[in-house]
């Protein structure tokens, strides 16, 4: 079976090997701490399955401290000049899109095709993580295609990967740390407090205000947790099930998706959803890390209002 851990090992290897260049990057004023950051991050990826959680937690703490006190900087990456890029672009033309398009196509093909194959009744791909495994395989095949198309070496692609990784910088670790925080918030009972507060504010005789509290509560709690999946069980158990479904007798199928969507409006608004909002800003070289949220907020607010009215209409109907 091709396990998802192999994909994590591949990611860890890319991070670790690229850190070897960083240690020698004299253009980086903090090359040692920057190198340590990526080396530890890569090692944590690879060793996460064998190290005890406490030791891994210490590594994570070291990674955070290196980045948190300004130890992660950028250096020089020997980028191709505009003339070089233009020369190979005019030579390769639209064939440049082939490896890029191979990634999504092979991922889909892998999920639909390889995901169903069993060898000696063992599934070929890790059944719990079919998409991730398929994405990993697709990335490797696309890499081989890119090597042969551009006649480049693996070393060249590693250098280019380092350029992109360091463009993202410490923001790459943020989504995982926020997920950690979400887990700790959940186990400390932050959600039940939020649901209790929301429940005590709304007038119990009004369907509209129950719907309003559920949708806004989903959005706000998602902003706190950075994840609508964490907000849904809490707000649904706290508001939707006792009031909208229980008291007013609305069909659960009708409110579920709209409630979840109200949460997604919160996802569009919060830096806590770093993998959607902060990492892309870094990846696109945006000066403000909040630039993506700024582009999203009008849609998020309008759709939240639409969701409230829609759920109310659907509940009344």
């Amino acid at each position: 079976m091709i396990r998802v851990e192999y994909v994590y090992d591949f990611v860890g290897l890319i991070l670790f090997l690229s850190s070897l260049y960083t240690f020698r990057d004299r253009a980086n004023p903090r090359r040692i701490t920057t190198g340590l950051f990526y080396a530890l991050y890569g090692l944590a990826f690879i060793l996460a399955d064998v190290l005890p959680p406490f030791v891994l937690g210490l590594m994570v703490l070291a990674i955070v401290l290196l980045a948190g006190f300004g130890g992660v900087r950028t250096g020089s990456y020997g980028e191709a000049s505009a003339a070089d890029r233009e020369a190979s672009r005019s030579r390769l033309g639209n064939r440049l899109f082939i490896p890029a398009v191979l990634i999504p196509l092979l991922t889909v093909a892998g999920v639909e095709g390889l995901g169903r194959i069993h060898v000696h009744s063992v599934p070929l791909l890790d059944p719990a993580n079919v998409t991730l495994v398929a994405l990993g395989i697709a990335a490797v095949i696309a890499l081989v295609a890119a090597w042969s198309l551009t006649r480049s070496t693996p070393v060249a692609s590693l250098r280019e990967a380092r350029r992109l990784i360091e463009a993202i910088g410490w923001a790459a670790v943020l989504p995982q740390m926020l997920a950690v925080l979400g887990t700790i918030f959940a186990s400390a009972g932050v959600g039940t407090v939020v649901a209790r507060v929301a429940n005590s504010i709304i007038p119990h005789h009004s369907l509209f205000w129950a719907v309003f509290a559920y949708c806004v509560g989903m959005a706000v709690f998602t902003m706190v947790m950075g994840n609508a999946f964490a907000a849904f069980p809490v707000m649904t158990a706290g508001i939707a099930i006792p009031l909208i479904i229980g008291h007013f007798g609305v069909d659960a199928d009708r409110v579920a998706a709209i409630g979840m969507f109200a949460g997604y409006c919160g996802t569009l608004l919060t830096p806590m959803a770093a993998n959607f909002n902060i990492v892309p800003a870094a990846l696109l070289g945006l000066r403000s890390q909040y630039a993506v949220i700024r582009a999203q907020w009008p849609t998020a607010v309008i759709i939240l209002a639409v969701n409230i009215l829609l759920m109310y209409a659907v509940a009344k109907w």
């Binding site: 410490w170 950690v180 186990s187 409110v255 998706a257 959607f276 909002n277 800003a281 849609t299």
Partner: protein
């Protein structure tokens, strides 16, 4: 008391302290207030880090994307759209919104993504269309277009995926209702996701139309590509 961790996050983000530090301190504070030992908190850090490695799997695609960028992928994407006269920034992003949302609604959430599609292809195309019409773009306009390209990727993904029955979100919703012995049907839950999915497409398409109008207001009166024909594409 448990809300102090939330307060730490809000104050930390507002004061622009490094978010990694803010998040870590908030986690430790919340854990300590819940009477957990330091060792237990750090173990939670380790366990959650290992579990949530999937969030960084896009790094596996960076060697390919980086290599293609070095050989002119972004320039080729710009060039491709500059030849299509009907292509504007807003229309390109609108087309991508449709592809992203429709694909997600069919369960194909891996089509797209900031590292695989937005940075190497969609953002250069959106910038290239504006460049073909208005000439060299000021950096602030470039940033604005790129932010919108990333936003389209998120909006399309989020509001498309709940329509598809077998996706994690729908299964999670069913799981929650099952706990309370409430009957729910995944097909119907996906069906009631459709109105919002359509509304999102309409609202965001209008905003992309307004983006085109904004770009015209900001940039028209500047030398257009027509006057320097054929040389509009430069990096």
């Amino acid at each position: 008391m448990v809300l102090i961790g939330v307060l730490v996050v809000i104050v930390g983000f507002a004061l622009r302290v490094n978010p990694l530090l803010v998040v870590t301190v908030a986690g430790i504070v919340t854990g300590l207030l819940a009477h957990e030992s330091v060792e237990a908190i750090l173990s939670q850090f380790g366990t959650a880090f290992a579990k949530d490695r999937y969030m960084a799997v896009f790094v596996a695609t960076l060697p390919v994307i980086g290599l293609l960028e070095r050989h002119g992928l972004r320039e080729q994407a710009q060039r491709l759209v500059s030849r299509v006269r009907a292509a504007t920034t807003g229309r390109i992003l609108n087309a991508y919104l449709f592809i992203r949302e429709a694909a997600a609604a069919l369960g194909l959430t891996s089509i797209g993504g900031p590292a695989q599609m937005v940075r190497p292809v969609v953002a250069p195309m959106a910038e290239g269309a504006a460049e073909a019409a208005y000439g060299e773009l000021p950096e602030s306009v470039r940033q604005h277009i790129r932010a919108h390209a990333a936003a389209v990727d998120n909006v399309g993904l989020f509001f498309g995926e709940d329509v598809f029955v077998a996706v994690g979100a729908v299964l999670l919703m069913k799981g929650v209702f099952d706990q309370f012995h409430i009957h729910s049907t995944p097909i119907l839950m996906g069906l009631w996701a459709l109105p919002t999915a359509v509304a999102v497409f309409i609202v965001h398409s209008i905003r992309l139309y307004l983006l085109d109008r904004r770009l015209r207001r900001w940039l028209s009166g500047r030398p257009a590509a027509a006057s320097s024909s054929g040389e509009g594409v430069s990096s």
